[in-house]
């Protein structure tokens, strides 16, 4: 009896704590998705300011995808809307959060997960922390005590900002890499950790729940990619029944010239590389036959304006 009573006390205490943390979360959560409002990763979180249900393709992943996929180029070629929700060294737990956030306002038909993030080391502790941070925003944004405004106490959360690059990180710098082949076929297979495999499965389930299809995509990188990694992802894709495209094996179509198309010796693509890749990705998206060309549609006039005013090359980061 005494045990029951005390267990009850602990439960009540924890419930009270949860209520307090939820109340604090309401205060500490940024009310807009701009840095001055306390938002983190604003380039990727610009998705929150996009008008509802206007994004066709959503990209999650790390810096590889942020530098390799140019949404305005895809818009120019196809009239499809894409947004890159990628962040530096993104772990799959955060990819899941980004996707979950984006699904609150968007219903993309395809979600692309750049595959380097699948190999990023992630501990169970990282994963649990990310879940807590996502569910109790006071944990992520607690440092906002330094800049709280009156509006934070009771004000509504209204993210209205987005960026013209649509999450793409543009740079025209060139630091050449080697054009030596780096994708020699082999049987070796890099293994994906159990936790990361579970996260890929969870991302797939989340996509299906929201009417999206998950696509695994490896963007070209001579430093970060090789055939063993390709085999590892191929195995995961087959196990989970997910389509997989490795653009490192498609250079006859993409024609990346590593002496010109990278800004850091083959680690990431620069703008000219991103344009080449986006052209091929545009073709793939067109082949799917599931997207509508929004060019000329008044609801997408802003995309037209950006293209007219700035072309496919937004301001360099």
């Amino acid at each position: 009896m005494i045990y029951l009573k005390r267990t009850g006390c602990v439960m009540l205490f924890l419930l009270g704590l949860l209520v307090i943390l939820l109340a604090a979360s309401a205060i500490f959560k940024p009310k807009n998705n701009i840095p001055s409002a306390g938002m983190e990763e604003t380039l990727a979180n610009g998705i929150l300011g996009e008008p509802e249900n206007t994004i066709d393709v959503l990209i999650i992943g790390d810096s590889e995808s942020r530098c390799a996929i140019c949404p305005m180029q895809i818009w120019k070629e196809t009239g499809f809307t894409t947004y890159v929700c990628a962040t530096a060294a993104q772990k799959l737990s955060y990819s899941y959060t980004m996707l979950d956030r984006a699904f609150q306002r968007q219903k993309p038909k395809i979600v692309i997960l750049e595959t380097l993030a699948i190999f990023r080391e992630m501990s169970l502790e990282d994963a649990v922390k990310e879940i807590l941070y996502h569910r109790l925003p006071v944990l992520r944004y607690h440092d906002r005590w330094k800049c709280l405004h009156a509006n934070d106490f009771g004000g509504a959360v209204l993210p209205v900002w987005t960026n013209d690059s649509k999450g793409y990180w543009n740079t025209k710098k060139v630091d050449p890499g080697s054009n030596e082949p780096y994708m020699g076929a082999m049987d070796n297979k890099s293994s994906v950790s159990l936790l990361n495999r579970r996260y890929v499965r969870a991302i797939k389930t989340l996509c299906e729940k929201n009417g999206s299809r998950l696509l695994l995509l490896s963007t070209p990188s001579t430093i970060n990619w090789n055939y063993a990694l390709h085999n590892g992802i191929q195995a995961v894709a087959e196990e989970l029944g997910i389509e997989y495209i490795d653009m490192n094996l498609m250079n006859d179509r993409i024609k990346i010239d590593w002496s010109r198309d990278t800004f850091d010796k083959g680690d990431h693509l620069n703008h000219s590389g991103a344009v080449k890749l986006s052209l091929v990705l545009s073709e793939y998206l067109q082949e799917q036959g599931i997207f509508k060309d929004h060019r000329g549609d008044q609801a997408y006039a802003k995309w037209e304006d950006i293209l007219k005013n700035r072309g496919t090359e937004p301001e360099e980061e």
């Binding site: 005390r6 205490f13 009270g16 704590l17 307090i20 943390l21 604090a24 500490f28 983190e40 501990s123 169970l124 502790e125 649990v128 922390k129 941070y133 006071v138 944990l139 992520r140 607690h142 440092d143 005590w145 330094k146």
Partner: protein
């Protein structure tokens, strides 16, 4: 594998500790000790993996040495019972000699492992440098070794057990499990306190039943420790790392500020960890020895070291200072010197050899580096000067009618002690002895407030808000310290309040840590500092 890096990780606080508490609560008494031992080895495994074999070897060998010592004595006692009177003295002497050899062997094995793993690289690289200087073409390969977690701590516990058995202060433990638990109890595995067998082994083996009051008090202390670590120690980490790693780019003010911040960080990190460790022990009804007693209230460096890392100081006192002081050649010194220097100074100067050894060991214990040796020698010199200066200081105060117990004089002594300790910490934290001296010189030759005036001082990982919250938290800790110095127990005071007050305090403390803790984007928590020693 789930790597465990600190007691402040989610893995420890949300899984390992609650899991052990749950198993400990639901299982009957005879299994509780097994729960503690299994959890201890699980924690060691999660931190150091296969290096667990070092701990197992130490435990088994120490157990064996203890039995060997005791059996030798028992055998001698049996012989003495039947031996004629004239041979008894000889038997006693031979037995003593034999026991001395056994304990020396045991100590040599334990400290041999520690020396090889922790100091091997230091000694070899110094040997190579010396060979270079002497133009000898001998270059020994410098080994790169990963240390098992807490090796300095459990080695000292092992040594104290063997020496206590040798001195017949305690009987040898025939129960390997009990000894294993004493050597590895998981909360004190990484950073101490350095326990004595006579104080903790039986408590652990008794595995008292879980008590609601102990659980509450333990959790309360854990929260207090988390606050110290996450709100203060982690918050100052970026500034300290930047200033110490790139001191050549900074002026004297920045370096002085970083030194003060480091001293605060070290205290908050280590005492915060001790709160967590002792709180974890308290949950199971185990009373581990205190390691801190508000050291920054100390009026002298000697007093400071009686309040800072108490169990380490006590270990050196009992197993280094006393044996050296009571050894045959040193024993004669006080009498010899008292005749020439008087009673007070005779006593002070006769303690020099033992004091020197204690502080050399203390410096070396903290790490293999000349800056640590300097740190030890610095405190040796301070304590010696303090002892020498005490009689003239008393005389002068009397002549000038200064009340040495007055608040002003006391405050002056407290500040002086804190400043002297901070200077020691500069060399302790510096990347090398040379860097330490260069930083110390800069404080006096390049002191300017320009960085504060143009606000760049606040752009190195700790802004004005960060300093504000550090000051507020330290003020809170100081206030609690002042109350405790008067002999009042804050925890007992809280316990007597009604439920609403107690609940509010719990929630306030948790919310304080959640909001003002230095975690997440923009912060890099400091690695457990003493776990590295």
């Amino acid at each position: 594998m789930l790597p465990l890096s600190s007691y402040f990780s989610l893995l420890y606080l949300a899984i390992l500790l609650p899991g052990t508490v749950l198993a400990y609560t639901v299982l009957p008494q005879k299994y509780r000790r097994a729960v503690l031992l299994l959890s201890s080895y699980a924690v060691f495994w999660l931190v150091s993996g296969k290096l667990l074999c070092y701990l197992l070897f130490s435990t088994i060998s120490v157990h064996h040495i203890g039995l060997w010592l005791e059996n030798t004595q028992l055998e001698a006692n049996r012989l003495l019972e039947t031996a004629p009177k004239e041979t008894r003295k000889d038997i006693r002497a031979r037995t003593q000699q034999r026991r001395k050899k056994i304990v020396a062997f045991g100590i040599a094995v334990q400290f041999g492992i520690l020396l090889a793993l922790k100091y091997g690289a230091f000694f070899i690289s110094n040997f190579n440098e010396l060979a270079d200087l002497m133009k000898v073409t001998v270059k020994l390969p410098v080994p790169s070794v990963i240390l098992p977690i807490g090796i300095s701590f459990y080695t000292m516990q092992a040594a104290s057990y063997m020496l206590d058995v040798y001195r017949e202060n305690i009987p040898a433990d025939r129960n390997l499990m009990r000894l294993a638990l004493y050597m590895s109890f998981f909360p004190q595995l990484m950073e101490g306190p350095i326990c004595r067998y006579s104080e903790t082994a039986q408590q652990l083996w008794d595995a008292p039943p879980m008590r609601w009051k102990n659980l509450m008090l333990g959790l309360q202390r854990i929260l207090w420790g988390i606050m110290k670590k996450m709100v203060v120690a982690d918050r100052l980490n970026l500034l300290i790392t930047e200033a110490f790693d790139n001191y050549v780019h900074y002026d004297g003010f920045m370096i002085a500020a970083a030194v003060v911040c480091y001293t605060v960080q070290l205290y908050m990190d280590f005492s915060g960890t001790m709160d967590l460790v002792l709180g974890s022990g308290q949950i199971f009804g185990i009373k581990l020895p205190e390691n801190f007693q508000r050291p920054f209230f100390s009026r002298t460096i000697q007093e400071f070291w009686r309040r800072w890392h108490i169990t380490l100081g006590a270990w050196f006192r009992d197993y280094v200072f006393y044996p050296i002081s009571l050894s045959a050649p040193i024993k004669k010194l006080p009498l010899l010197l008292q005749k020439r220097l008087g009673r007070t100074y005779g006593f002070i100067f006769s303690s020099i050899p033992a004091l020197f050894c204690v502080w050399l060991c203390n410096g070396l214990w903290h790490g293999a580096g000349w800056n640590f040796i300097f740190f030890g020698m610095y405190h040796f010199a301070l304590i010696l000067v303090e002892n020498i200066m005490e009689p003239p200081a008393v005389w002068l105060a009397k002549r000038l009618h200064i009340n040495r117990d007055g608040i002003l004089y006391r405050c002056m002594q407290i500040v002086r002690t804190a400043v002297l300790f901070c200077i020691g910490e500069l060399f302790f934290r510096a990347s090398s002895l040379k860097a330490g001296f260069a930083m110390f010189k800069k404080i006096f030759t390049d002191f300017t407030l320009a960085r504060v005036k143009d606000n760049t001082f606040f752009s190195h990982g700790a802004d004005k808000h960060d300093f504000l919250i550090v000051v507020v938290t330290l003020a809170l800790i100081l206030a609690v310290g002042c109350i405790q110095e008067r002999g009042v127990s804050v925890r007992q005071w809280i316990e007597k309040r009604n439920l609403a007050v107690r609940l509010s305090l719990w929630y306030l403390l948790i919310l304080f840590i959640v909001i003002f803790g230095a975690y997440g984007t923009g912060y890099i928590p400091v690695d457990p500092i003493y776990a590295g020693f």
